[in-house]
């Protein structure tokens, strides 16, 4: 099943925005919120990990239930984790598809990467 990934501001993400290499920011921006029934169908519980795959990349997230989401949609706070899945194509508008990216989701035992390790996969250098 394909899911539509919505990315957006959350207040916790906004609070941690000046400390982007911290564990706190990593935890907040690597959390994928899902519809509760979708979680049941994937046999997922809060705090377990998933691997999300799009045409542009693949990233491990923590998962958390959100009653406000329709089935087939997930919400991930803005940050480097969700952006690893977003295509660079803008359809001539300058704006990527930050709120209409199709992803596939599967349960995984892999760990969520730190922000630095995640960025190093995209060519990020040592600090």
């Amino acid at each position: 099943m394909k899911y539509i990934m919505l990315t957006g501001r959350s207040i916790k993400q906004g609070e941690s925005i000046e400390q982007k290499l911290s564990q706190n920011y990593s935890l907040i921006t690597s959390t994928c919120f899902m519809n509760l029934l979708d979680m049941v169908n994937l046999e997922l519980e809060d705090g377990e990990n998933i691997r999300a795959i799009s045409d542009s990349g693949s990233v491990v997230f923590h998962v958390a239930g959100d009653e406000g989401l329709k089935s087939g949609t997930v919400f991930i706070p803005y940050g480097p984790y969700c952006n690893m899945l977003i295509s660079e194509l803008t359809h001539g508008s300058g704006m990527p598809d930050f709120k209409s990216c199709e992803i596939e989701i599967g349960r995984t035992d892999e760990n969520v990467l730190s922000v630095i390790d995640l960025l190093s996969e995209a060519g990020g250098k040592e600090l």
């Binding site: 982007k20 295509s87 660079e88 209409s100 600090l127």
Partner: protein, 426 residues
């Protein structure tokens, strides 16, 4: 210990200018009236203390002189430098940045291109029936939040200007002012609404079109559900809108970042126009990153265009989708990137980051952030809006002079840009 009243918050586009900031020994120790985002911004005390330069793939400390000279050399020797960011700094620095880019024949883009750039494209097509937030507070008896979640992105918007803000003609806002929220997600803001409209992802354009048809009296054309919204609810929404004396629509990135992008915004503006045939309606983008509106203003005064401005031809050229930062990076076109007042390392797609890792990146920012991981030079500066005074624009286009609250030895954004400029022009 001293308290500065009426300080302006440098976080989101609300630019709340009623904060009380208490300072002891030149450190901010408390903030009153601020939201959670403001408190985090004002009370943060971790920052980069010295400029750093990458050598042998490791960052080492340097002097300001050395970091500025290396930055100037990189820019001077570049064929196509890209200047990106600008929303986290003041108009004075934005103007200095445009001047530097023009001298170098570079391309300059602000973060609009990945937030409300599509809104600007729509406004350029059909105009902007907007108003100030003061008008909304004093007059609006109906507020619609479409594709935005102000409870989390602009936490004081509801208490300063809408749901909880009583005004001159709206004496008891919470009772007299209706709230409609339209979103694909049932957010905290949706929980506060008198009417919540949950649409399917990508369904905004169709729902806006259906509402326009119903306003025009052609509900016979509308199917029983439109993008997940029952026709009965759409008709109810139109009735509420027509009964309002003054309706204010606020829209967020739910329109600009989803399918159809600027066409969604154009449709929302056209709905505003349709409703204004019956009553008074206005529409306002929820500008997110502090002074991003100011960046659009400063760019427009100086170049004629609000963002994505290319000086490579010797004159300003504007074509979002071609001259915008994401597209230039995706085409692997720029050969140096200068970043200020934003963090593209956290907010651009992967392919853009992969290219940033291949070219020299100069970062002007007080904090170590995701772009630091790609930077070859980082120059720490005074925190704009807290340690520097200057002009910033609120989301409704009102310019405010921000106060310098504490003293600092760190140079300002403007000083760094001007020092680079002096070296570049010899």
């Amino acid at each position: 210990m001293k308290t500065t009243a009426n300080a302006t918050c440098p976080f989101c586009g609300c630019l709340c200018d009623d904060l009380s900031v208490t300072i002891e020994d030149n450190r901010i120790i408390s903030v009153d009236n601020g939201c959670a985002l403001a408190n985090a911004k004002f009370l943060d005390d971790k920052r980069l203390q010295h400029p750093v330069i990458r050598e042998n793939n490791r960052l080492r400390e340097s002097s300001y002189e050395e970091a500025i000279e290396i930055s100037a050399d990189l820019l001077k020797n570049a064929d196509r430098p890209l200047f990106f960011g600008w929303s986290g700094t003041q108009v004075e620095a934005q103007c200095a940045g445009v001047n530097l880019c023009e001298v170098l024949g570079g391309v300059i883009d602000n973060t609009s291109s990945i937030c409300h750039g599509p809104s600007i494209l729509a406004i350029q097509e059909v105009g902007h029936p907007g108003c100030t937030l003061g008008q909304v507070k004093n007059r609006a008896d109906l507020v619609i939040y479409w594709g935005c979640n102000p409870s989390e992105s602009h936490p004081r918007h509801l208490s300063k200007y809408t749901t909880y803000a009583s005004g001159f003609f709206v004496k008891n806002a919470h009772r007299e002012r209706k709230l409609i929220v339209v979103d694909v997600r049932k957010t905290e803001s949706a929980d506060l609404a008198d009417e919540f409209v949950q649409i399917n992802p990508g369904g905004d354009y169709a729902v806006l079109s259906a509402l326009r048809a119903i306003v025009r009296g052609r509900s016979d054309f509308i199917p029983e559900t439109v993008s997940g919204v029952p026709k009965a609810q759409l008709k109810r929404i139109v009735d509420i809108c027509k009964e309002a004396k003054f309706g204010a629509i606020f829209f967020g990135l739910g329109l600009t970042m989803s399918e159809n992008k600027y066409k969604n915004v154009r449709n929302a503006i056209e709905l505003t126009r349709e409703l204004s045939r019956h009553t008074k309606f206005t529409i306002t983008p929820m500008r997110g990153h502090w002074n991003v509106y100011g960046a659009n203003e400063a760019f427009t005064w100086l170049t004629g265009y609000p963002y994505a401005v290319d000086f490579a031809r010797g004159t300003a050229y504007y074509n979002p989708g071609e001259t915008s930062a994401v597209d230039i990076l995706a085409r692997r076109e720029c050969d140096v990137m200068f970043v200020i007042g934003s963090d593209p390392g956290a907010h651009l797609p992967r392919k853009c980051l992969e290219y940033m890792s291949k070219i020299p990146v100069i970062l002007v920012d007080p904090h170590v952030n995701c772009t630091s991981v790609f930077a070859d030079v980082q120059i720490p500066v005074a925190i704009a809006g807290i340690e520097t005074s200057g002009t910033a624009y609120r989301m409704d286009g009102v310019p405010l002079m921000t106060k310098k609250l504490i003293e600092t030895d760190f140079p300002t954004d403007t000083e760094i840009i001007n020092r680079i400029h002096e070296i570049v022009v010899g």
